[in-house]
Assembly symmetry: C2
Homo-oligomer: 227 residues x 2
DNA sequence: GTTTTCATTTATCATTAGATAAATTAAACC
DNA sequence: GGTTTAATTTATCTAATGATAAATGAAAAC
C-alpha cells in the first residue's frame, strides 16, 4: 500500500498467474511468428527468461498454447464494427468497402498476424479457411448484396450470389494483401505510400466493378434460368 | 541388349545414380511441399521406399537437397518465352500482359510451387524475394514501359518508373495469385471457372489502369520535377 | 564363372524434442 | 516470525533428429 500495490517489476521473479500467462502468450506470438509453429518450447522459455517446464504449468501442451495464440491474434483482433460499417447505408457501398479494406488491412498487415496465419495454413490447420469464411459471410456477402442493389441488379434473394462475383471481391482483397505478403512473408522491403496506393487500387476496382459484375450476373442468370 | 536396355523397373532396387537422384528430387518436392521444409529425412526416405542414409549418398546435407528442390521448382520452371512475349509489339501490351499472367499463373498455381515458396519465405530464405525481383525486372518493368508508351506518357528513360506504378502491376498479380493461396495454402476449395474469372479481373484492370497511371505519373512528375 | 564395382542397407552417434515429477524458494497468511 | 501456499526450478524420461561408418549384395567386367 506504500508507493506501489504491485510488487516492483524490477526483480522480475514471481508473477501472478494472470501476469505470467499474459507474458507467455505475448512472447509466444512474437516467437512463433518469427521461427514458425515448429519453434521449440525450450527456446521460447529462454526468450521469456523462464524455464521450459514453467510453460507446462500454464499450458498443458504446446498445441493448447498455440490455440491461445490463435485466439489472441485472430479472434480478439476481429472488429465487430466492420460488420456495422458495411451495413451503414448512409455511405455508398464503395465508400463503405474502401473504409473497411483500409482499416482491415491496417489491422492484419503485421509481422505477427500474417506470418502465423500462413504458418498455420501450411501446417494444415483449418484456421485460415475458417477465418476467411467469416470474412466472406460477414463482409463480402453484404458487400455484394449492396453492389447488386446499387447497380439495379437482381437481389441475392432472387438470384443467389455466384462464386465468380465473390472472386471479384477476393481479387481486390488479395491485391491489397499482397503488399503484406511481400513485406512479411517474402521479407522484401515494399517502400510505398500505402495510403496512396490502396486508394488508387480501390479507385480502379470501384470504377471497373460495375460493368464486369453486370456481365457476370447476366451470364449467371442465363445459366441458372436455362439449365 | 535384349528387349530392354534399362533393367525393368518392376523390381525397383538398384537404380542408376541419375535415376535415383531424379527420383529423390521428385519425391522431395512432393514431400517438403506437403509437410514443410522441416520435414524429416527419415520420413522422406520411407516414402521413397529407400533407407535414410541413402539420401546422404546423393546429397551431402538436407540443406543442399533443398537447394536442388528450389532449382527444380523455380529456376527450371521459369519460361524464357515469357520475356519474349512481353517484348512482342505485334500485340497490344494489354494482350501481352493478359497472356503472360494466364500462363504464368497456370505454371505456378500448383501445390508444390506455392507451398514450397511460402515455406521458404517463412523460413527466412531469400528465394521468394530473389524470384519476385526477377519477375519485377524481367516482366513488370517492360510492361510498365510499354504502358507508358501506349498511354503517351513520358518514357522511363526520362522519368524513371516509380514504386507506385509497380504496385499497380503487383496488385493485379496478387489478385490472381490469391486464388492459389486460398487453394493451396489455406486449403480452401475455390471452385470457379478460372478462365472466366481471370479474364474478368484482367479486363477490369486494363480498363482502369490508364486513368490511374496517368494520375500517378503526373504526381510523380510533379514530385520529381519540383523537389 | 569368378572378380570387381558400387548402389544400398544395417548399426550407431550425438543432439534435441515435448513432457513429467520432485525439489526449491519467494511471498502471503495468521 | 514461524507456517503455509504456490510460483518456479532442477533433474530426468522417451522418442526423434541429421549425419556417419562399416557391412552387404546385385549387377557389370573380364
Amino acid at each position: 500500500m506504500s508507493q506501489s500495490d504491485k510488487p516492483l517489476r524490477a526483480t522480475k521473479h514471481r508473477l501472478t498467474p494472470a501476469e505470467r500467462e499474459r507474458q507467455i502468450i505475448d512472447g509466444a506470438i512474437a516467437f512463433f511468428a518469427e521461427v514458425g509453429l515448429d519453434g521449440q518450447t525450450r527456446e521460447l522459455a529462454h526468450r521469456l527468461g523462464i524455464t521450459q517446464p514453467l510453460l507446462y504449468r500454464y499450458f498443458p501442451s504446446k498445441e493448447l498454447l498455440l490455440e491461445r495464440v490463435y485466439d489472441a491474434v485472430y479472434v480478439k483482433r476481429w472488429k465487430p464494427e466492420w460488420e456495422v460499417l458495411i451495413a451503414d447505408r448512409s455511405l455508398s457501398i464503395g465508400e463503405r468497402f474502401r473504409r473497411f479494406e483500409k482499416d482491415y488491412q491496417r489491422t492484419i498487415m503485421t509481422y505477427d498476424w500474417l506470418r502465423i496465419f500462413f504458418s498455420a495454413g501450411l501446417k494444415g490447420t483449418d484456421l485460415p479457411a475458417r477465418y476467411l469464411q467469416r470474412v466472406r459471410s460477414q463482409i463480402f456477402t453484404p458487400v455484394l448484396a449492396e453492389l447488386r442493389r446499387e447497380l439495379g441488379l437482381l437481389s441475392p434473394d432472387l438470384l443467389p450470389l455466384c462464386a465468380e462475383e465473390f472472386e471479384l471481391i477476393f481479387g481486390i482483397h488479395g491485391a491489397l494483401l499482397y503488399v503484406g505478403i511481400r513485406r512479411f512473408i517474402y521479407n522484401m522491403d515494399v517502400s510505398i505510400d500505402q495510403e496512396l496506393v490502396f486508394d488508387a487500387e480501390i479507385d480502379a476496382f470501384l470504377a471497373g466493378v460495375g460493368p464486369v459484375m453486370r456481365r457476370l450476373v447476366a451470364e449467371h442468370q442465363a445459366r441458372t434460368g436455362k439449365s
